[in-house]
Amino acid sequence: MTGLLRRIGGSLNDFFRWSGGLFILFLRAVWVAPQRPIGVSDLSHQTLTVGIRSMPMATLMSLFVGMILVWQFGEALADFGAKQSLGYASSLALVRELIPALLAVTVGSKMATGMTAELGSMKVTEQIDAIASLGADPVKKLVWPRFFAATLAMPLLVAWGNIMALLGGMFISDAVFDVPAGYFYETYIDELIPIHYISGIVKATVFGAIAGIIGCYQGFMTKFGTEAVGLATTETVVAVSIAVVIADFALTTLFLPI
């Protein structure tokens, strides 16, 4: 019993240390952001790299999720003779919830693990120490551009994902349920009001920030040895997935009553 309590205590202690470290890194990244030099080339390079590298995955995921969801809803609605409502039924779930959350868990994890692996390798080969020893701030040089890039790229990818999901839905609606793609489009858009887009984009921004800061923190905390880089990246996937789901619940609670 004592051993069990000690283990639980140890895990809680680790969790609070980790969360505290993550929060401090976030504050430091935001603090150094306005300091000169602004590092426009680092910011744009990271944003383009993170965003463009994630485009194929975001496109594929969104297209297929759009098709799958509309197909599933279509089967259910057809039983009630309500397949003309396919656009109304699927738009809210996709725009408010599925596209932001799914892209955060998949594309966000991909971004974060890339950052962890890159920064972890730099830590192991003392490149982070080298940056500091040459008088630069590693948080400004490495963390801030990646955090910024993930926070900016994720809502853009979600906006793109929404278009892809809509196209996927139009295709299935027309091809499988004989509901014209144009009609599906009109009903889909008709159901949405600005707050639905806003909630999706706010969620995506928060998820991007979560992925960026966890990816960087895990990279900085990587222990020595190549095995440690692998372990840190695996932990990043778990941490990003859990953090995104919890943040999603909190944001849904916030936005749904509106």
């Binding site: 730099m122 080969t125 490149q127 120490d129 080298a130 940056i131 020893s133 008088g135 630069a136 701030d137």
Partner: protein, 255 residues
């Protein structure tokens, strides 16, 4: 050193540092004087490199004082540390060159960070530094555009050396500069350290377990044993130390 000598440029007093249960230093003292080359000897994994990282403020001592030019490193803020690192430069064990940057960008990194030099001036300085470490453009015409992955181990160490001297530091800290190199490259690096010290009058602290390099480059030598430096002496005096631990290390004897 006698009482009439100038104050040390780096002074560590009563320093303790540990990583979890692993105690590296306990009540450690050592001084580094301007213009000298001090070599820190000791077995692998005993924490010699930690001394360098404490000097340049990459690590903080749990107890004791680490002073550079009379200023306490642990009390320095970001700006003071930035200035400290213009005076103190470190050459890392594996070179720690930035993989995503070319040789030119690596060598010019500190200049970009600390100075208002133009790209042309940085290029000139990078060429000059590479020349000093034996990687002149006459023999290596495409060296500036190369990336670390395309360099040999010896070349990487020399580029790292060029990067550390680009800002014209007063002190260079070398972490295992010859580890992993073949004998000719070891000699080349040792000669270069000596040459750079004579040419640039820099103070050098060299961490190594390579006794040949140590005797070649040092003015004074210190040996790490049981978390302290019990033996610190001028190179010629260090050779005469009769203690078994030092003798075993010098003659590479195992018991």
């Amino acid at each position: 050193m006698s009482a009439t000598d100038p104050p040390p440029i780096i002074s560590m007093r009563g320093v303790s540092k540990s990583f979890g249960a692993n105690v590296v230093y306990q009540g450690m003292d050592i001084d580094v004087y301007r213009g000298e080359t001090l070599t820190i000897l000791g077995g692998s994994g005993t924490g010699k490199s930690v001394a360098l990282k404490l000097m340049i403020g990459l690590l903080r001592a749990e107890e004791g004082s680490v002073q550079v030019n009379g200023e306490e490193v642990s009390e320095m803020g970001a700006e003071s540390l930035r200035k400290l690192r213009q005076d103190l430069s470190m050459v890392f064990q594996g070179g720690a060159l930035f993989d995503s940057m070319s040789v030119l960008e690596n060598v010019g990194y500190a200049l970009t960070e600390h100075t208002q030099m133009s790209d042309a001036e940085i290029l000139d300085r990078a060429e000059e530094c590479l020349e000093m470490v034996g990687l002149g453009l006459s023999e290596n015409p495409d060296i500036l555009e190369k990336f670390p992955a395309n360099l040999s181990g010896g070349m990487r160490k020399r580029v790292a050396l060029a990067r550390s001297i680009a800002i014209k530091p007063a002190v260079i800290l070398y972490d295992e500069p010859t580890t992993g190199l073949d004998p000719p490259n070891c000699d080349r690096i040792s000669m270069m350290i000596r040459h750079l010290q004579e040419q640039l009058s820099v103070t050098s602290v060299v961490v190594t377990h390579d006794i040949d390099t140590a005797f070649h480059v040092s003015d004074r030598m210190a040996m790490l044993h049981e978390h302290r430096f019990p033996w610190v002496a001028r190179t010629e005096d260090f050779r005469q130390i009769r203690d078994e631990v030092v003798r075993d290390f010098i003659v590479r004897r195992t018991r």
